[in-house]
């Protein structure tokens, strides 16, 4: 690199990084690049299990994230819940965080319900307080709640008539951004199959649970969502986000390499007695 380039890189490195990241984030939104996404074995495993569910099987979904985490968890949840509705299973939505019920409504508004009707095919039970104590209470007896999120008596809802105990659920899908321990402690062994939708940051924390067989599979963030959309053949927001993520991370890697080259050149120049 010549002196002029070095000077520009040294003086305006912050602006260069900002512009590169801005281009990486915005460009695929205007011009889709269509980077290939291949599904990892864990996503395929989750997809295949749901594909084998029979219409009318009971599935429990806990939406345990707020709007602040939607970008990470939401696209993956949209894809997997969309698949559940296409399989015509009966879904019980519950939340162990306060923001959960409106996020459930947002989720349902963004997907195709495939003709499913509230109360007959799916139900929103709403927020259950107490964090882990609430989870333990629900896992012990899911019928402790007397009314759903909208105040309807759960005895009058067809979906809830099928639920007698927690073991009646064929699948549990918790979605959250925090550590997975509380969900696993209270539901592992009580529901046979758990597929967790998590933030990519929790990937290393959740992998041991999958390896030990206590979790059936997981969907890590938007990447997992993008893979699931590919399997569903319904490209959506997760695929678009993955396009931009791939480009931005490539640019960041290029910046790291350039930064190291500049650093090497500067140190060798200093060693030779230059400024």
């Amino acid at each position: 690199m010549n002196d002029m380039t070095m000077k520009v890189l040294n003086q305006y490195y912050r602006q260069i990084i900002f512009i590169a990241v801005l281009i990486g984030c915005f460009l695929p939104a205007f011009i889709p690049l269509g980077f290939p996404i291949s599904a990892t074995p864990l996503t395929v495993k989750a997809y295949n299990y749901i594909e084998e569910l029979e219409p009318g099987d009971l599935v429990l979904v806990s939406v345990d994230y707020g709007p602040n985490a939607w970008a990470e968890i939401g696209p993956g949840m949209n894809a997997i819940v969309q698949h559940l509705f296409l399989r015509k299973v009966n879904i019980v939505f519950v939340s162990f965080v306060t923001d959960g019920p409106p996020m459930t409504e947002k989720l349902l508004a963004e997907i195709d319900l495939a003709g499913a009707k509230y109360g007959i095919d799916y139900v929103i039970l709403g927020y259950i307080p107490g964090d882990e104590v609430g989870m333990a209470s629900f896992a012990e007896n899911p019928l402790k709640l007397t009314v759903d999120y909208y105040g309807n008596n759960i005895d009058q809802l067809d979906v809830m008539k099928k639920v007698k105990a927690i073991g009646d659920f064929k699948l549990y899908i918790p979605a959250h951004i925090t550590g997975p321990e509380a969900w696993i402690r209270q539901f592992s062994g009580k529901i046979q199959v758990i597929i967790m939708t998590i933030s990519p940051a929790a990937l290393a924390l959740v992998q041991p649970w999958v390896d030990s067989g206590q979790l059936y599979s997981m969907l890590p963030g938007t990447k997992g969502g993008g893979e699931y959309e590919v399997l569903l053949r319904k490209p959506g927001i997760a695929t678009s986000i993955m396009d931009a993520t791939s480009l931005t991370l490539t640019l960041v890697m290029a910046l790291i390499i350039i930064g190291n080259i500049v650093y090497r050149q500067e140190t060798s120049r200093a060693a030779k007695g230059g400024v």
């Binding site: 939104a29 104590v133 402690r185 209270q186 062994g189 940051a201 041991p208 931009a244 993520t245």
Partner: protein
């Protein structure tokens, strides 16, 4: 989503992002809005939940619920100096039940369940499985050694503790890398939203306002 809602959301997003340029009144406004709406919603959900899980069952004759109700009300005695000690009963009930539920399931699920990972059937395992088993066993044991303080970390114990530290650093590095990748999606999701009409047209006046302010400040 109708046009007005999209524009309001886009405006709030741009107001929040204006902090990247510098501290300003638009950012302060959106910050106050988030806190206000957040607290308001929390209060609403708490009251409706109390109605659903406490008041309604109480009215229906589930009188045992009076015990947790009293424990909950005792928490408010923290505001009266003379009776502050009573709030500890409420805190004790919350902490005790939480700990009890967590610990009772921790042994079968977290300890015994995770210990299953150490079992490997060598007659059917492939090379990758054996390599994974070795890595899991070495990193798990050495990390436990790192947190064992009953003996000074010298000799074999010192070397094992060093391997444990490196294992944790690899795990933290992987977590940090995935966190950065995950955090990027927040910005990208907003960029995708802002790139769609009608909200995309707001980007031009936003850029003009920032440029005008930058030039004005330079002149000063």
């Amino acid at each position: 989503m109708d046009i007005l809602t999209s524009i309001i959301i886009a405006l709030l997003t741009l107001m929040a992002w204006s902090m990247l340029y510098r501290e300003n009144v638009f950012y302060n406004l959106v910050e106050s809005l988030i806190i206000g709406f957040g607290m308001g919603y929390l209060l609403y959900i708490m009251i409706t939940t109390l109605g659903k899980i406490l008041f309604t069952p109480l009215m229906e004759g589930q009188w045992l619920l009076i015990i947790p109700t009293i424990a909950g009300v005792l928490l408010f005695t923290a505001f009266i100096e003379k009776y502050r000690f009573l709030s500890r009963w409420g805190v004790a009930a919350i902490a005790g039940s939480g700990l009890g539920f967590a610990v009772s399931r921790a042994i079968p699920v977290q300890i015994l369940g995770q210990a299953k990972m150490f079992y490997l059937d060598f007659s059917t395992a492939g090379i990758i499985d054996i390599a994974n088993w070795l890595i899991i066993s070495i990193t798990a044991i050495t990390t436990i050694v790192y947190f064992t303080f009953t003996k000074e970390h010298k000799g074999i114990l010192g070397n094992m503790s060093k391997i444990g530290r490196w294992s944790m650093m690899v795990a933290f590095g992987a977590t940090f890398g995935s966190t950065i990748g995950g955090d990027l999606t927040y910005v990208i999701e907003r960029c995708i939203f802002l790139s769609r009409p009608p909200q995309v047209y707001l980007l031009i006046p936003a850029a003009i306002v920032i440029l005008y302010d930058a030039m004005r400040r330079r002149k000063k």
